[in-house]
Symmetry: C2
Amino acid sequence: MNRNIKVGVAQINSHVGAIDYNLKKIIKFIKLGKRKKIDLLCFPELSLVGYPPEDLVLSKNFLKNVKLAVKKIENIDKKISYIIGYPKLIGSKVYNVAGVFINGKLAFEYKKINLPNYGVFDEQRYFSKGDTPLVFKFKGRTLCLTICEDIWSDFKVVSNLKSPDLLINLSASPYSSDKEADRIKLLTSISKRNNMEVVYSNLIGGQDELVFDGGSLILDSKGNIISKAKKFEEDFLVMNMIFEKKYKNITFRQSKKDKLSSILSALSLGLRDYVLKNNFSKVVIGISGGIDSALVAAIAVKALGRRNVLGIAMPTEFNSKLSHDLASELSHNLGFTLKTSPIQEVFENNLLLLRDSVYGKSSFDETEENLQARIRANILMATSNKLGCLLLATGNKSEISMGYSTLYGDAAGGIAILKDIPKILVYKLAKFYNSCNPKNIIPKKIISRPASAELRMNQKDSDSLPPYKVLDKILELYIEKGLEVGEICSITKIKRSLVVDVVNKVNMNEFKRRQGPPGVKITSKAFGRDRRYPITNGFKEA
Amino acid sequence: MNRNIKVGVAQINSHVGAIDYNLKKIIKFIKLGKRKKIDLLCFPELSLVGYPPEDLVLSKNFLKNVKLAVKKIENIDKKISYIIGYPKLIGSKVYNVAGVFINGKLAFEYKKINLPNYGVFDEQRYFSKGDTPLVFKFKGRTLCLTICEDIWSDFKVVSNLKSPDLLINLSASPYSSDKEADRIKLLTSISKRNNMEVVYSNLIGGQDELVFDGGSLILDSKGNIISKAKKFEEDFLVMNMIFEKKYKNITFRQSKKDKLSSILSALSLGLRDYVLKNNFSKVVIGISGGIDSALVAAIAVKALGRRNVLGIAMPTEFNSKLSHDLASELSHNLGFTLKTSPIQEVFENNLLLLRDSVYGKSSFDETEENLQARIRANILMATSNKLGCLLLATGNKSEISMGYSTLYGDAAGGIAILKDIPKILVYKLAKFYNSCNPKNIIPKKIISRPASAELRMNQKDSDSLPPYKVLDKILELYIEKGLEVGEICSITKIKRSLVVDVVNKVNMNEFKRRQGPPGVKITSKAFGRDRRYPITNGFKEA
């Protein structure tokens, strides 16, 4: 008896809620698997409904539709077996289930045991906990099936069992830039410790604040990677598992360059899926001649094509000629259309109106700065409404942390793809982007000039913010690493008063972020569902 | 031996995160209790930190500050005992704790067992589950201590015990308009079934999307209410529990009028606390001459005083003279200042600019409607920035459900107090408000005229939306009752195509709501943390 198993991983891009669309894709991959003579094809976690389905799971009608789709999954083909994730109502409880279809027939349903309820995850809001590991025989081998968190937070699920031959894990593991290394470390250690092969099937695609990076893996029983799927793309892995055999390993090491490249891919996929899955095809961006809008434009062109990107420059008297020249050069290099809509006159009309009708003559302060940003948002949103393009916000994580942005102004947009990218990383990504292309597509001057919002004469970011090197360090330690003021001071030697000021500003500006667009999570702690702070908050650091 | 217990309930308004502020308040109430010769004083759940503290609980420094405050609570007075709620780090786990201070000394700490993780609640994100009920002797009586959800979701906690004499429950139970009746029913049944007295100590105050209504209760062992605290105000209950005695009951029945009155109080408290706890005192409102802004102005005047309310009317050619007259009459009746800032010229300037620079001449569509709303938002936000007043958004739940509002336009504001109030209820509240006051403060014409956004000639809400009576019924059944399309059709006999259209519009407009301001929850299902839908969502009803 041949006890080899030809395993496949269908690394698909599911669309949250679009059950029929996902079902079609699943059928297509099963048929492909059949042609490739695969014995067992593994799809990602909840692949029939996308991840995270959020409160859709509370809808009986949604679950009924899922049930109908599961029925259709049976008997697609009797010559192949497959494992697919979906939510399932059993009695009055909903479970995060992986259905094992042996020769096209639903043979087992495994209920996820470890339900993550931290960070971006709310699974205990939706699902009841399973309590029984699933170990089953397949072609004479012992297989153990797990879902995502099962192997992350509590490995007892597997380790209490007599060691199976093969561990399968269906995942919907959101990307963050340091996570792949953790994932590989974990899978390697599980494989080694239990002396078993591992198949790890991960989702890809963007969904609101999250992007799933794929990178599905197959490991031999010594913890070596023997097959690895593409990242940020749909892919199909095939591996003939011969078990006792020594496979050819793949070496894996992430360089600094790979990290930047994968962040750009994450932003690009996150953007593309947000735009397309929300039935847009075109985007509009306010192009200032600064670094943030330049990087957003470059990513948008990569994700959607230059013909689907429209830039608008909206100068006032505070914008230098250099800014406009750089904006033009950028649009020329990237090949997108740039229109110019000077807002000085509308700005002055607004000032006069406010002076005459509301608050009289007054000195120039943040009010007038915000007003310019909001007039620009109006121009951009009118363009979005009239031409049917989605507005992209251009703010970065450093600004958004400190509230150094205008609510309903530059903060406006359908998605803010740099929301989780600190300013220093914006520069690195821009340089890296240029290094991957034949000439300096993002003009060098855009990267080298001092950052400025140009909302008053000779304004510089450094008038209002600490140097970005210092600021980003504090923000990383506070937000991403979760360190306290004292710890940050002792690690960085930065003055306590500055650290305190930054930390308090982060928390005081929750009101702006609560009304900001979603962004793509790329760090270990992003704003949004990942970090839930009260707006009304009397806790101050001192 | 006198086995009576003089029990007190300190129904306080805690400020989330403001540990020192809350501590001072707690000390003040303990001293008051001492003067009233109270034996045992009960504070609400997590009263030391406010509810919900959200991700503050993940900060070690925050927990350290809580710990220091708990130390200070000890020995405030040795002649009185008290029970206070706070989060506590034990090992690596955080618990939702109630500390029992017997004669000023921390004697027991009860760890909450049932952690709600549905609706607005995320307690399993923050807290580990306790596993031991707390039953303790006090003045010869047996007392059982519980925290909020303990008695709601799983009553075994109490019922497995040999019946204690007195059940104490510390709560932070958010208001919704039908909840008080449920609360009383629950407490009554617990009291009766176990033949025990009950002390129920609830929080009051507004916190972002939530308002806590207080209404703390003391019940005798037959389930009769023998003492009841005020609603929406701090209060102090005192009751000499003689146990075997028959007390004088309080009859309690909520009339329709009480319901409207309590909703107005909830909105008023929610608004006041949001404004004051965020260090504002004044608000600005766009006054259109319509019902929504009229009701918001009336509530703002009630909550903050007329001198702290500024109205701005911002007419274009589409606004009738009647609208302006009614806005003036309203401001006169309520006594707040109304300024007029006509935006027609700025609107035309914007149209010209867009025509010349971005998209050429084009027909008048939603773009131009939205543009007017966004120009108004700019005027209002400039006023907010310059004069330091918080902008109040005026949208109601019916509009917000359907996306019948302009993002960054009329949707803009620090808080949207009508966010959870359907349009028909807006009318009812306006009429009820008038009925409580000597003359028609909200001009009758504002209530009787057809609803219109006045963003084009002769526009009416009914051009774009089903009649509000029909719409609100569908929305209530779908959003609040969680019914499916089929169920809604069979209950209401409304055409399926209309129900489907409404339900799909609700879900398609999640992108607007995600960027909207918080509002005060008053129904069983509000938008915001209470209802977490994906923006990118391929699920469509058919």
